[in-house]
Symmetry: C2
DNA sequence: ATCGAGATTTTGGGATCCCAAAAAACCCGC
DNA sequence: GCGGGTTTTTTGGGATCCCAAAATCTCGAT
């Protein structure tokens, strides 16, 4: 169990993402103390934390205002993350890459392939693929040799869909056999990109690694745009429901 | 005047950068209360802030350990910043760019040019060039249309040499006329890169804008490496003394 | 009714207190 | 002397209190 202030920050963050607060609503320490039944000390810590994360901003004079998170914010943040991941891929290709990281990536790729080959998409399998995906992406961030790439990625990873290796998945559109096959195909294409990235890194082809990672990262933006076309009034909450999130513990750690 | 906890975080951060603490030294709330004559509340806030910034890490069990900042850290962070700036340049070129941002960049370029044409390098002039440089780089980050680029840049901007548009300058090596002319030439070359970036953005040439910004950002890394060759035992403190930092107020704000 | 000065309430920053958990010191049996 | 268990001290999390600044309200003068 984390300390109260971290938990509190998590719940408030989630509330903001869920749209529990009105846009630009003023938020005071006292009200949070009251609603969460804690003293002001952890509330203060939580608010400061959220302020540093950019979830809330100091308002004119007193208090904070909740920063509205829009689908466009998510798209922008995903773009930044992708750009950073592509840097990681390039750096990893340039570095005297440690074999262990490459092996780990290969194992993740193989695991995803094995799971896609099953031909089903139940929760267990999706979870497994997500875990492997997290491992692949985390390993690149870890193995690139530049700690600040991972660090900056983590600074936006509290936003929905921005945890390392998070996948997007419209479970509600998995009704017919056709849908499932289509989704599996998507996953296989994504994994083939993983394999290309792996090969490029292994061969030291930095340009190809960076380019492929950029392409790979771009697919999530494309999915967001697909969802937007399908639903003009797409909300962040919709996106959250589409995203596969593991246990918060799966976040990239040092 | 900021609140005590922010000030405290600033001084502790500076102490860490200056190497006041031993590497990996344990840091306790009580000791800071004592040494800074404040109560534990602001100390706690300051420590949390520094932890989020990555300046300190939670140690096993109790307390924090100061994270040693090395020249290599700076180099890595500069690389990340440059990568993000190059993204900003690309995005700005792709966006229906607002003329006002381009105008501002042009003015900054002209100001730098006017100052380099003077042919001297006294403090006043260096400050002026630095201010214009900050304006150029800040405008790109602001004008790219993706708030998270600026946000992630700011997340590492507390490190030395990583504030937006910070310049590097070995004042001690500005003795002879030759040295000054050489430095001015460097600055002129840098500003010509500014101009190319400006033109590329203005013409919507995203690839060129990104590439040139990458090149431009790379020069700081090259300088760090020049300094390292000149001084095998280059410390972060040395780098700080070489970097031109404006008032903290000049930091990129929203 | 309107505006502004003063009074009142709200709010956030800081200090202090308490407590539980962790670390360190201590002690005893071997 | 040494290991293991116990006691003591240290340390950090949380609650509460106080205070000054800010915001809001009130009321009187115009």
């Amino acid at each position: 169990m984390e300390s109260i202030d971290v938990e509190l920050a998590n719940t408030i963050r989630q509330d903001i993402i869920d749209g529990t607060f009105d846009h630009g609503a003023r938020i005071t320490e006292a009200s949070l103390c009251d609603s969460h039944k804690v003293s002001r000390t952890p509330v203060r810590l939580a608010l400061r934390r959220l302020e540093q994360e950019g979830m809330i901003r100091k308002s004119e004079g007193r208090g904070y205002v909740v920063g509205e998170i829009t689908v466009d914010d998510i798209r922008q943040a995903v773009l930044v993350r992708g750009h950073l991941e592509s840097l990681a891929a390039r750096l990893m290709a340039q570095s005297k890459r440690r074999q262990s990281d490459l092996d780990q990536m290969a194992r993740a790729i193989d695991r995803i392939e094995a799971l896609t080959d099953i031909g089903r998409l139940d929760d267990e399998i999706i979870r497994g693929m997500h875990a492997a995906n997290v491992e692949f992406h985390s390993t690149v961030l870890e193995g690139c040799g530049n700690d600040y790439v991972k660090f900056t990625c983590n600074q936006i990873s509290h936003l929905p869909m921005l945890a390392a290796g998070s996948m997007v998945f419209d479970r509600s559109a998995l009704n017919g056999k056709k849908d499932i096959e289509k989704s599996i195909l998507r996953l296989k294409i994504g994994n083939s990109q993983h394999r290309i990235i792996y090969e490029a890194i292994e061969q030291g082809d930095a340009v190809r690694a960076e380019g492929m990672m950029r392409e790979h990262s771009n697919t999530m933006i494309e999915y967001i745009e697909v969802f937007e076309r399908r639903n003009k009034k797409l909300t962040v909450r919709d996106l959250v429901s589409y995203s596969v999130q593991g246990d918060p513990e799966n976040k990239v750690e040092s």
